[in-house]
């Protein structure tokens, strides 16, 4: 009665979702953080409304990035602290299955949720409705990539106290291309020009990351586990 890879994957995803839903307010937190950060910026700009319009894609993306990042540091840390990561590592399932499952679950409760809430933020930032489709698409692809980049960082920094700042250091530089093209796509959609180029690039980035990052993240985790 061995447990197959796919079964193991769903079990770990269910475990993660169960942990998230155990405290429903925690599910909302990355979203609310996203909302708050997007409201902070306009304030920091001393309310120069004309500026706001131009910078809305940047604000949107930086907020998405930060809110995804903030929750990433708990990806493996919680399990490492209470010893369950060791149990997972000894479960007889490859570490990679576990890493992939945890990262996917993370994206579901942060990235996907963030995409769903982005129209609200978009409205507040004055992004036209016509640009919403591109914005949501780019955010979805972008946050998935980000979750994967974050998984590498989280794997490397698990076991370090105050690893979250270090995690940001590792992930943010990697995320820069993402930010440039994501904000670029949104910007073009707002101004009505064709955003396909930037979107393709984002998608390529996503495919690239999703292919290689599982290996990198697993390797990172294995290094810190020993």
């Amino acid at each position: 009665m061995n447990v197959g890879v796919f079964e193991a994957f769903t079990l770990v995803v269910r475990r993660e979702l169960c942990l998230s839903f155990r405290r429903p307010e925690q599910l909302l937190q990355p979203l609310v953080f996203f909302l708050i950060v997007t409201t902070l910026f306009p304030l920091g700009l001393s309310l120069q409304l004309s500026l706001l319009r131009d910078m809305s894609p940047g604000v949107l993306w930086v907020a998405a990035l930060l809110s995804s990042l903030l929750s990433l540091d708990a990806l493996f840390k919680g399990d490492a602290d209470d010893g369950t990561l060791e149990q997972l590592a000894l479960s007889g399932q490859g570490l990679m299955v576990i890493v992939v499952a945890k990262t996917c679950a993370h994206w579901l409760v942060t990235g996907a949720a963030l995409v769903l809430v982005s129209p609200v933020v978009g409205t507040a930032l004055g992004i036209p409705v016509a640009a919403f489709a591109t914005m949501m698409l780019s955010l979805g692809v972008g946050t998935l990539t980000l979750s994967w980049l974050g998984a590498i960082g989280a794997g490397l920094t698990v076991g370090l106290k105050r690893g979250n700042v270090l995690l940001s250091l590792i992930v943010l530089p990697l995320a820069m291309p993402l930010l440039i093209f994501g904000a670029g796509a949104t910007d073009r959609a707002i101004s009505g020009t064709n955003a396909a180029g930037a979107l393709y690039f984002l998608a390529a980035l996503c495919v690239f990351t999703c292919t290689l990052a599982p290996f990198a993240a697993t390797a990172a985790l294995r290094i810190t586990l020993e």
Partner: protein, 244 residues
Amino acid sequence: MWTWFYKLASPPSVYAAAGALAPWFLATAAVAIVYGLVDGLVFAPPDYQQGDAFRIVYVHAPSAWMSLFSYTSMALAGAIALVWRIKIGHAVAAASAPIGASFTLLALVTGSLWGKPMWGTYWAWDPRLTSELILLFLYFGVMSLRSAFEDPARGDRAAALLGIVGLVNVPIIHFSVTWWNSLHQGATVAKIGKPAMSLSMLWPLLAMLLGFMLFYGAVLCMRLQGEVLNRERQAKWVREAIKS
């Protein structure tokens, strides 16, 4: 004197009182709101500048006032519970937080609907609007902090403390229009002496405020009953009340 007070604040008597008051509040609220709506939406003269668009004030202003009022009462109930260890205060605070958040949301929504014809945009980063948004976040913070604790007693006290800390935001919302130059219009109704509003517009507004207040009281009573039952589920009187 104090024993009398404690007796009054004991869960069974609060439960009973809330149950008795709720229907009265609800009935009077209905009367006031119906009068306010009919008079405000049908009989009050259109504004000389805004035409009929101004009529949204009959929902907007009362709900905005109520958002502040219920925050303040939530914080005060929490403070009383924290300082004098009167548990019922936490129940009152827990019961009023979602109501207050709803009023805040209503104020934000009606405000931005009104903003479109008036300022040409649904949303602007204006001090009044922003601080009202902060109020909404504070409500969310208080509610999620309360539920984040395993131990409800600690959650209550933590939420009460945050409520008190967040009270600094209330004067900021109220005075933001005088402290900063703002899109939003200044105090119109509460101007001491003579309100800057014609009486025919004012009466329905006051009626709506009264109605909202009574409605708040009614919902508070009903939610309070639920809170008390949940908190006292181990107590004998609850078991008996459920059985009967």
